[in-house]
């Protein structure tokens, strides 16, 4: 009983946060649209509905890492602590979405392609993306508030971004088992999604983006508070000496 209480307490109080609650409600609405409103695909059947979580998670990952790239560049120009913290928060939330994106792909591949994983260009480049940003977060985790670590991770954040256009274009440049883009600038008009599916996908992308910003904001605030506390502790130690 106490264990359940211990597990539930943080969730309860987290839901007390208005924005998080809004994101949760939107996510439930998204489930409703995906499962009850969107039509079933003729060839794949219900399993095709993974699209509405796979593609938005991919979009949010790319977006999150784009923010990391911008903030790391800004950090190098201005040496801004704020940019460094936004980059850190964005990379962390981004890796969460990339993990979801990769796992949903793996779960989708098994029933449709017949294997969990194959060393296809799209899959390989995505895994590399995941590893690059894991490396980024690990450098941060091991180095704490060391200035050198901030610079190191900013270098990873900038260089790592060059992999993302490769991930995106991998289905166009190389022979791959992965389906081609169905929406967006690189999509082939002959693959266009039927309207209800496209609307569902756009709605899902919107919901995931909102959720991303909510999580990013919470993480950023925590990082800022940690920084402030560290500064105060540092000052009081100084005064005592």
């Amino acid at each position: 009983m106490t264990l359940i209480k211990k597990l539930c307490m943080p969730i309860c109080s987290a839901i007390g946060n208005f924005w998080l609650l809004l994101a949760g409600v939107l996510l439930v609405a998204d489930l409703w649209v995906i499962f009850l409103w969107a039509p079933r695909d003729t060839a794949l059947g219900d399993i095709q509905r993974i699209l509405y979580l796979h593609v938005p998670a991919a979009w949010v990952s790319f977006f999150a890492f784009f923010i990391v790239f911008c903030m790391c560049t800004w950090y190098f120009i201005k040496r801004s602590d704020k940019a460094d913290r936004i980059a850190h928060a964005s990379a962390e939330v981004g890796i969460l979405f990339t993990t979801i994106f990769l796992l949903s792909g793996i779960i989708w591949a098994k029933p449709v392609w017949g294997v969990w994983w194959t060393w296809d260009p799209r899959l390989t480049t995505t895994l590399i993306m995941w590893l690059i940003y894991s490396a980024y977060l690990m450098v941060r985790a091991y180095a704490g508030s060391d200035k050198r670590a901030e610079r190191w991770s900013a270098v990873i954040g900038i260089l790592g971004f060059f992999n993302i256009p490769i991930v995106y274009a991998s289905t166009i440049w190389w022979r791959t088992i992965h389906p081609q883009q169905m929406v967006g600038p690189a999509s082939d008009p002959s693959n266009a999604l039927p309207d209800p599916m496209r609307i569902t996908l756009y709605f899902s992308v919107l919901v995931f983006t909102v959720l991303f910003f909510v999580l990013l904001n919470i993480r950023y605030n925590i990082l800022s508070a940690e920084r402030k506390i560290a500064i105060i502790v540092d000052q009081s130690n100084h005064e005592r000496v």
Partner: protein, 134 residues
């Protein structure tokens, strides 16, 4: 061990793992799969495991006596290649819009011995009509 040495070791490890993955992905061929025509061109090479992409020739499909063995042809509209597979076929194997990616190697009679079948499904999704009878 200093913190700085820890990063170096860590980053070196990540780079090593990444290079290994890239090498593994590119090994054997610079491309993920060959077309049927390209594969037939090197059918004398029986040692290398390759991936071949083609469409199933529906009429060519024959099941063996024990229901596990299957023989079929795949084509890229230029060449045709005979393949043999023993195992459970994936769900969308017979779907006329899907393509197959076969992993395996040629035997002495130039029959492609399939170890693994992957289905490359259509990129186009089509909404199912509302079922009024359901």
């Amino acid at each position: 061990m200093t913190t700085r040495r820890k990063y170096f070791i860590f980053i070196a490890l990540v780079v090593a793992v990444l290079s290994y993955f890239t090498y593994d992905a590119m090994k054997g061929a610079a491309v993920y799969y060959l077309t049927v025509t390209e594969a037939v061109g090197q059918s004398s090479d029986q040692d290398t495991v390759i991936r071949v992409n083609g469409k199933l020739v529906q009429a060519s499909f024959v099941r063996g006596g024990d229901r596990i063995e299957s023989h079929f042809d795949v084509t890229d509209d230029i060449s045709i290649m005979t393949a043999h597979f023993s195992g459970v076929l994936p769900d969308l194997f017979f779907n006329e819009n899907s393509q197959l990616v076969l992993e395996g190697s040629f035997d002495e009679e130039s029959v492609f011995q399939v170890q693994n079948i992957l289905v490359k499904c259509p990129s186009k999704y089509v909404a199912e009509e509302e079922k009024s009878s359901a």
